[in-house]
Structures are given as structure tokens and as C-alpha cells.
């Protein structure tokens, strides 16, 4: 029972963190109907920022959270202006974006290797704060609690933004139907650019916790992170931020239970979950939109 309880609690914390990883990708998809295959690489960049804040300036990696937010929203606006208008003109923007962002991911990885070298970087446990934290009688590293809290908080803030601000409501209007939003006079371009930037910033913020939750940061981690994020948001529902939390929790719980009871098969799990979900519930657990051809 002891093991089960621990695995379940760890799965919830880990799952909240994975919601944070996936939610930016989901927002971008919902608003722009494009798949950002470079998502994991932006997470990596955010992680490196946290690493250098600590190792060069001695600051807590948590300072990287607000810095990443500002930096990556700006970067998102820039990338949006450079790439998206032209992408929209192609015959199949969803597929074209998929390939384009894959290329971008390769370019970012190459630049990161040139800039940071190949060594995997990590941070000592003490960098984020000393000791452990007790939850329901089980002891967890402080970094886990911080990552889980960051995940929960980001989802809540995003929810408040989307449902209780005017800009957010406009964003949801674009999500529901781009054409209607254009027709009703919303500045769709600016709303989309902001959503894209927020998507990147959420990835970068998730990167701050990567040294603790993902074992370290290295330039070539992007593809694996992107695949996992995709799994999380597909299990939940594409284009639905609340769905991401469900997806993250299912993923986290399943992974931790597998590690406890069938460890060598654990890494197989996300891929199996993804394929099974797609085949049985093609629109995700909480989705309504059909996506079969």
C-alpha cells in the first residue's frame, strides 16, 4: 500500500508538471491550428536560461520564470510575424506547419550545440531550496512540489485569462472559428501572435524545472519532450486547456505506476497511450471535434 500511495502522489505531481509542458503546445494548436514541433526546443532554451542564472549569477533558478515569460512572449511575436502569414497561404497549413517547425527544431538544436556544447547540464538539488516536503505522510523533493505547483498555477492563470478577460474571450473566439472572428472585426493576427508567444513562454517556464524533473537539460532533448507533450495533449483533448490537465495526470500516474510495478516497460507507456487513445477516442478524452479523415 505504501508503494501504491507514493506512486499515486508522485504521479499527480509529475502529471501536473506535464500539464505545464503540454499546455503551451495545446494553446498554440487551439488558436493557430498549427503544430509546433519545436515546442521541446523552446523548453530546452528556457532551461538553459535558468541554468545560467544559477551557475553564472548565483540566482535561484525560479527567477527564470518571470524572465522567460517576458522574453519568450516577445520571441513568439517575432517568430509569428516572420513565419505564420506566409504559412497560411499554403495548401495545407496544418501539415506545412508541422514540417516547418520540425525544421526550426533542428536549427535551434544545432545552434544550441554551437552555443552551449554537448554536455548535459543539471542543477544541484539545493539550488531551488533545501530539503524535502511532506504531502499526506509521503516525502517528496522540494523541486517536485515546486514543479507541480507551477503546473497548477499556470493552468489556473491560463483559465482565468481565457475565460475572464476580454483578450482571452477574443482568443477563445478565434479558437472556435477563425473566419467568424475575422468577420466580427477582431484583430485576429495580434491575438494569435500573443497566444503563440504565451505558448512558447509556458514551454520555457516548464524548462526551468527540467533539471529536476527531466534529469537535466541538453541541446538534443527537444524531440523527446515534444513527443511527450503531444501525447499529453492528445490524451486530454487538442485545443482544450482543461483537457491538458487530464492528459497530464493520466500520463503521470500511468508512468509512475509502471515504474513501480513493471519498470522496464515504463518508457513504452507514453507511446502506447498515444496510439491507443488516437485509435479508440480519436478526439481525446474530453474532445468533441472529430479528427478522422
Amino acid at each position: 500500500m505504501f508503494l501504491l500511495e507514493y506512486a499515486v502522489l508522485a504521479g499527480i505531481l509529475y502529471g501536473l508538471y506535464f500539464s505545464l509542458i503540454g499546455i503551451g503546445l495545446n494553446l498554440t494548436f487551439g488558436v493557430l491550428k498549427i503544430v509546433n514541433l519545436a515546442h521541446g526546443d523552446f523548453l530546452m532554451l528556457g532551461g538553459f536560461l535558468a541554468y545560467f542564472l544559477y551557475s553564472a549569477l548565483g540566482l535561484s533558478p525560479l527567477w527564470a520564470v518571470p524572465i522567460n515569460l517576458v522574453l519568450f512572449v516577445a520571441l513568439g511575436g517575432l517568430l509569428y510575424a516572420l513565419l505564420i502569414p506566409r504559412l497560411r497561404q499554403s495548401r495545407d497549413p496544418e501539415m506545412a506547419s508541422f514540417i516547418l517547425f520540425f525544421g526550426l527544431s533542428q536549427a535551434i538544436e544545432a545552434l544550441a550545440i554551437l552555443a552551449f556544447g554537448n554536455n548535459q547540464r543539471s542543477l544541484p538539488a539545493a539550488a531551488i531550496g533545501p530539503g524535502t516536503i511532506s504531502l499526506f505522510g509521503q516525502v517528496f523533493p522540494l523541486s517536485w512540489a515546486a514543479a507541480g505547483a507551477a503546473g497548477l498555477l499556470s493552468v489556473l492563470l491560463l483559465y482565468l485569462y481565457l475565460y475572464h478577460t476580454r483578450l482571452g474571450q477574443a482568443t477563445r473566439a478565434v479558437m472556435a472559428s477563425r473566419e467568424e472572428a475575422v468577420a466580427s472585426g477582431l484583430s485576429v493576427g495580434r491575438i494569435s501572435a500573443l497566444a503563440f508567444g504565451i505558448g512558447l513562454a509556458l514551454a520555457a517556464i516548464a524548462g526551468v524545472f527540467a533539471p529536476y524533473l527531466l534529469g537535466g537539460i541538453s541541446p538534443n532533448m527537444g524531440v523527446a519532450v515534444t513527443t511527450t507533450s503531444f501525447t499529453v495533449i492528445v490524451i486530454g483533448a487538442l485545443g482544450n486547456p482543461v483537457g491538458t490537465v487530464v492528459g497530464g495526470l493520466i500520463y503521470g500516474l500511468a508512468l509512475m505506476l509502471m515504474e513501480t510495478y513493471a519498470s522496464s516497460w515504463a518508457t513504452l507507456l507514453p507511446y502506447l497511450l498515444l496510439v491507443i487513445t488516437l485509435l479508440i477516442w480519436p478526439s481525446g478524452l474530453l474532445g468533441r471535434r472529430l479528427r478522422s479523415a
Binding site: 506512486a7 547540464r121 543539471s122 544541484p124 524535502t132 516525502v139 534529469g215 538534443n220 515504474e259 519498470s263
Partner: protein
């Protein structure tokens, strides 16, 4: 240097005169690969650096004196970057053999990148010096074209560790390994040796090599109440594993991991001093200081020369690269000619007699290295500094085991 030599090759190719390079008779050409990027770069680059350092040292003295030829040969290294990809490595080993006509091949770091060179070396009759590719399946039968130079085959690694656990009567042993050739073969050997002594591990599980978070696994292991936890992984696994142990709030009497003994600085930077204090590892040079050598530099002299050459403080893989150079150097001195089989006969002639900074060099006819032993050592705080103290076997021990670890 690597880039220039590669460029040279392409120019030569363009002129249709690729063979001219290799036939300059006062030069001995060594072809090698290194991983400039990808998952093996951390280990591969220092190994390549060690080999380059050796070549510089030898060339500064005018080259290696080959008695049978009656003259000195300068060493020339042709190096290509395989980016940690095996299929790229295969075309590049082939490139070195068929286009650069190198006299001898030195494999890249580790089993994965070495694997594809073995059939090519056999096919083209080129001698392959394998610094660190310890794969369990590489040495099934006598093979005149393969010599493992700097480490014993991976299945031999945990010998001392097993004996140590048996001698200390530590009966509750947990084994966690990554499912790759290198780690699984060690885990299997350890489990077999323990079982032969009547000890059944309380936990013995494999996880994928891509596992990056060990918190729950560490907890699962703790639930079996082990006295010792042995984790066999690559450095990218050892780091998150030790972090998980350090930050989980759990306490094990002893923890063993492989890479702190090879890449101490990397591990210390990422895990922190507190995270390493008390853990066990296989000590390798320079942490294992072999200074009574009969060929090449001893560990201390090497460390000084290496730093003086502006290459920083050496780690084990720098030494592995350098040691491979020493094997080549001794072979050239003693050989009856530059043909691969003559070189191999020369190597066999000093096998079991040469003692370098990496320990005793002894190869079997399959090419497997059996001379070096990997003792067991513990990181201990001494005067505010982390020191690696060898605790087993007794004849090389430099201190006492702290049990349970602090």
C-alpha cells in the same frame, strides 16, 4: 586539426591522388572517429583529446623509433566526426580504410560506436585498437584485428564489487540497471556472482536508458530495505539517480554508481558535493593513481604534462585515449613490420608485461582486455574536500570504508 586533415582528404580526392598521402614512408597514419555532438560527445571528445596528446608528445620527440625499419615514424591522425551516429560512423570507418588508407584504426568511445568498425576491420584486414568499446558480444572467438586497450570487457567490471559485497557480508543488495549492452551485462554479472555466493538481490530491475527521473524508482528500492543500492547507467543516468537519492529524503547505507569514478568533475558539478559524499564507484585513473609504470607517463606526470599542454585537468577518458596511444607506440617499437598481423603479434608479445598509467595491459587472442582491474572506492569528505578512497581489494586499498555512508 581534424578539420584540416579532412579537408585535405577531400582535396586529394578531387585531384584523384588519395593514395599519395598514406604512402609517405616516414609517417604512420592512424584513423579515428570522435563524436562532436550527440549523446556520446561528453565521453568521446576527451578520449580523442587523449589520443591527440599522445601523438603530440611522440612527434615532439621526432616520432616513434621502429627498430625493424631502423628509423623514426611521425604519427599522423586523421579524425572524422561521427556525431554519435552509428550509420555515419560506419561510412567514416570505411572512408578511413578505403580512401585515407590509414595504417591502423582507433575506434570511437564506447560499444555502440565501436560495433560497426569490427566487421569492417576484419573485412579489410586493418588492426582496430578499441579504447573503451567493451561490448559483451565483441569477443566471441580469436580475432587478430581487434585489441581492447583501456578497459576490461564490461562483464568483468563488477568482479571486485561482487567480491567486496560478499566479503563485507552485505546480503541485502538492490540492483537497478539501464537496458543497454554496457549496463545490463554488468548487472547480470553482479547478480550471477552474488547468487553463486548464496545472495539473492532484493531488487533487480532494468529501466530504459532514456529514463530521466528516478524519484519513484528510488522509493520503490527503499521499500525493499537494501543495505546497498547498485545503479548501472551512463553518466546521463547516474546524475538524475544520485540527485533523486540526495533529494528524496531517503537514506541508503551504501550507493554504488559507475561514472563518478570516470567523470568526477561532471558529476560533482551536477550532483553537488553532498550528493557524492559516501557513494561508491569504480575508481579509474587519474583517481586511481598508477605511478609505478614501465611505459609512458605515470598518472601524476601525465596530469602535469596534460595541464601544461593547455588541455585542462584530465579525466579517465583522456587517459584511455592516451593509453591507446601507448599500446600503439609499444607495438611500433617492437614490430617486425607495419602489416596489421605483425603489429598484432608485437602487441601479444608485451601483453601481460606492460604496466601503464591505466594499469596492467593484458589481452586475450579474442582481443578482450583482462589485465586491468576495477577496484571499489568511496567518496569521503576529508578536510572539506571530497576524496576518492579505495576500499577494496586490500592490496590496493588507500583507506577504510565508512559504513553506513555519512
Amino acid at each position: 586539426m581534424a578539420k584540416r586533415s579532412t579537408l585535405g582528404i577531400f582535396c586529394a580526392l578531387a585531384l584523384g591522388g588519395a593514395t599519395a598521402l598514406a604512402q609517405q614512408s616516414s609517417v604512420f597514419t592512424i584513423g579515428t572517429l570522435y563524436a562532436g555532438s550527440g549523446s556520446f560527445a561528453t565521453s568521446s571528445l576527451p578520449q580523442y583529446q587523449g589520443l591527440k596528446f599522445w601523438a603530440q608528445q611522440v612527434n615532439a620527440k621526432g616520432g616513434v623509433y621502429v627498430k625493424s625499419l631502423g628509423k623514426r615514424l611521425k604519427i599522423k591522425i586523421v579524425a572524422l566526426n561521427d556525431q554519435s551516429s552509428t550509420s555515419t560512423a560506419e561510412t567514416e570507418y570505411n572512408q578511413l580504410i578505403t580512401q585515407d588508407h590509414v595504417n591502423l584504426l582507433v575506434a570511437d568511445f564506447g560499444s555502440v560506436l565501436t560495433s560497426v568498425a569490427i566487421p569492417l576491420a576484419n573485412e579489410h584486414h586493418v588492426l582496430l585498437i578499441d579504447p573503451t568499446g567493451t561490448g559483451a558480444s565483441f569477443f566471441p572467438k580469436p580475432n587478430p584485428y581487434l585489441v581492447l586497450a583501456a578497459l576490461p570487457t564490461s562483464a568483468v567490471w563488477p568482479d571486485s564489487l561482487a567480491n567486496f559485497l560478499i566479503a563485507r557480508k552485505l546480503k541485502r543488495v538492490a540492483i537497478l540497471y539501464d537496458t543497454n549492452d554496457f549496463d545490463q551485462s554488468q548487472a547480470q554479472t553482479l547478480a550471477q556472482k552474488l547468487k553463486a555466493a548464496g545472495i539473492t538481490p532484493v531488487y533487480d530491475n532494468g529501466v530504459s536508458t532514456s529514463t530521466s527521473n528516478y524519484t519513484v524508482l528510488v522509493h520503490d528500492i527503499a521499500a525493499t530495505n537494501p543495505q546497498v543500492v547498485a545503479e548501472f547507467g551512463y553518466s546521463a543516468n547516474d546524475i538524475p539517480f544520485l540527485q533523486a537519492v540526495d533529494s528524496s529524503g531517503l537514506k541508503f547505507n551504501l550507493v554504488f554508481t559507475v561514472f563518478p569514478g570516470q567523470l568526477e568533475q561532471l558529476l560533482q558539478k551536477n550532483v553537488g558535493t553532498a550528493g557524492l559524499n559516501g557513494t561508491l564507484t569504480y575508481p579509474t585513473p587519474p583517481l586511481l593513481a598508477y605511478n609505478k609504470v614501465n611505459f609512458g607517463l605515470g598518472v601524476n606526470a601525465f596530469t602535469r604534462a596534460f595541464k601544461a599542454a593547455g588541455m585542462g585537468a584530465p579525466n579517465f577518458l583522456d587517459i584511455a585515449g592516451y593509453n591507446s596511444g601507448l599500446v600503439i607506440q609499444r607495438a611500433l617499437q617492437l614490430t617486425s613490420g607495419l602489416k596489421p598481423l605483425a603489429l598484432r603479434r608485437a602487441i601479444q608479445s608485451f601483453s601481460g608485461k606492460m604496466f601503464t598509467l591505466d594499469g596492467l595491459f593484458k589481452v586475450q587472442s579474442s582481443g578482450a582486455q583482462v589485465g586491468e582491474l576495477l577496484p571499489v572506492a568511496q567518496f569521503q569528505m576529508q578536510g572539506g574536500q571530497l576524496k576518492l578512497v579505495i576500499v577494496y581489494p586490500k592490496n590496493v586499498a588507500t583507506g577504510k570504508l565508512l559504513y553506513p555512508a555519512p
